[in-house]
């Protein structure tokens, strides 16, 4: 649990953009795993892949549950608070820029649709292979590649709309 809780928490945080929700969801993930551990089979893939799959399912369930609540939220509430955990070796201005960029990227991530968001998080943040993402999402590999591609393009478009442009 100590080995995996950081990874699960980061997936939940990047998906929800909210630290408190991410911690609650992480607890729910491990509770679900604790209860359904007997159903794990090595034929389904590695334990980490199975854990990621459980995490993804809970995230989608959470998203659907809170969909109605999000429709009435203000735009300000949707802006996540990203804690700066960068190395202290950077200069303060570099850190400030990085922190600002991280916040903007996180905000752009939460604006993606759930299918594209989870594909981009698993591929570009968790560095999973296409085959592993295919097992987690339970969709064909072609669909995985298509979602990742569309997710990246959509993310770039949102970042451009937010004024984050390439140097």
């Amino acid at each position: 649990m100590r080995q995996h809780n950081r990874r699960v928490f980061n997936i939940c945080y990047r998906f929800t953009g909210n630290r408190t929700e991410a911690e609650d969801l992480t607890q729910d993930v491990f509770l679900r795993i604790y209860k359904t551990l007997a159903s794990y089979r090595a034929a389904h893939g590695g334990f980490a892949t199975w854990m990621t799959s459980v995490t993804r399912n809970l995230l989608i369930d959470h998203y659907r549950r809170t969909k109605r609540d999000r429709a009435t939220d203000s735009l300000d509430d949707a802006m996540p608070v990203v804690e700066n955990k960068e190395s202290t070796a950077r200069r303060p201005d570099e850190q400030a820029l990085l922190g600002e960029l991280s916040g903007q990227v996180q905000s752009a991530l939460t604006k993606l649709s759930p299918e594209l968001r989870e594909a981009v998080i698993l591929r570009d943040l968790q560095q999973l292979e296409y085959a592993e993402i295919q097992r987690v999402l339970a969709v064909p590999e072609g669909t995985v590649k298509s979602r990742i591609n569309r997710g990246r393009i959509e993310l770039a478009r949102i970042l451009q709309q937010m004024g984050v442009r390439p140097s």
């Binding site: 809780n5 991280s102 393009i153 993310l155 140097s167």
Partner: protein, 230 residues
């Protein structure tokens, strides 16, 4: 084959992940470099991907692990009172406790003996740091004085032995005149085998008197002296 903008958009991820073949990559680059629509698209997606890779790993709060354990294994029972004390003891290794206890007692006994603690009439005041220091200081001085006395006694014994050996080796007819000694000055030899010169007799008398005084204070020397006389 002419690379189109739709192909560029479709195969963009393959290009970013390095999955295009050499031919495809060449055609992709040739199209992107000349297409006004695809150039900013590729540039913006490349930048977005680079920004994603700069996102740091977020550390969860330290309480998260314990919250997960509480949810899965249930809240931990807090033990109080004597049960907590007994649980603490139960968790320890009994062999190590016994070994540690015996070592502590042995050390305490050694220190108490060294500081001349009176076991027959023990007093709490004897355990005060000042009294412990005084006792240790007194014992240290006693040990030093006894060892110094022992070493000096050994030196005296060695000196007496060597002188007596030398006296035995000297010839007896060096002096022709026999000194007129009073009986009380005579050390007790009646067989006429003692030294004949006054100087040697006086020297022998001095040595004997010193040896008797020393022997009185040193039992080992007294035994040696008695053995010598016999």
């Amino acid at each position: 084959m002419n690379w189109t903008c739709e192909q560029t958009e479709l195969r963009l991820s393959d290009h970013l992940d390095g999955l295009l073949t050499a031919t495809e990559q060449h055609e992709f680059d040739a199209h992107v470099n000349t297409c006004a629509r695809c150039t900013p698209l590729v540039s913006s997606v490349t930048h977005a991907l680079a920004s994603l890779h700069t996102l740091p790993q977020i550390e969860p709060s330290p309480r998260l692990v314990y919250n997960i354990l509480d949810k899965t294994l249930g809240p931990r029972e807090t033990v109080t009172g004597w049960a907590a004390v007994l649980a603490w003891f139960r968790g320890m290794n009994p062999q190590r406790i016994a070994y540690g206890g015996v070592s502590f007692c042995a050390m305490f006994l050694m220190i108490a003996s060294f500081t001349s603690f009176n076991w027959k009439k023990p007093r709490v005041a004897d355990l005060s740091p000042v009294n412990v220091y005084r006792g240790a200081d007194r014992q240290a001085h006693l040990v030093y004085a006894r060892s110094t006395k022992f070493v000096s006694d050994l030196r005296v014994v060695y000196e007496i032995q060597s002188r007596l050996q030398r006296e035995d080796q000297l010839p007896s007819g060096q002096e022709t005149t026999t000194p007129q000694n009073s009986p009380e000055k005579n050390p007790g030899r009646t067989d006429g085998s003692g030294p004949t010169s006054p100087k040697q007799q006086n020297r022998a008398n001095d040595l004997v008197s010193h040896a008797v005084v020393l022997a009185a204070g040193c039992p080992a020397l007294w035994e040696l002296w008695e053995g010598r006389i016999r």
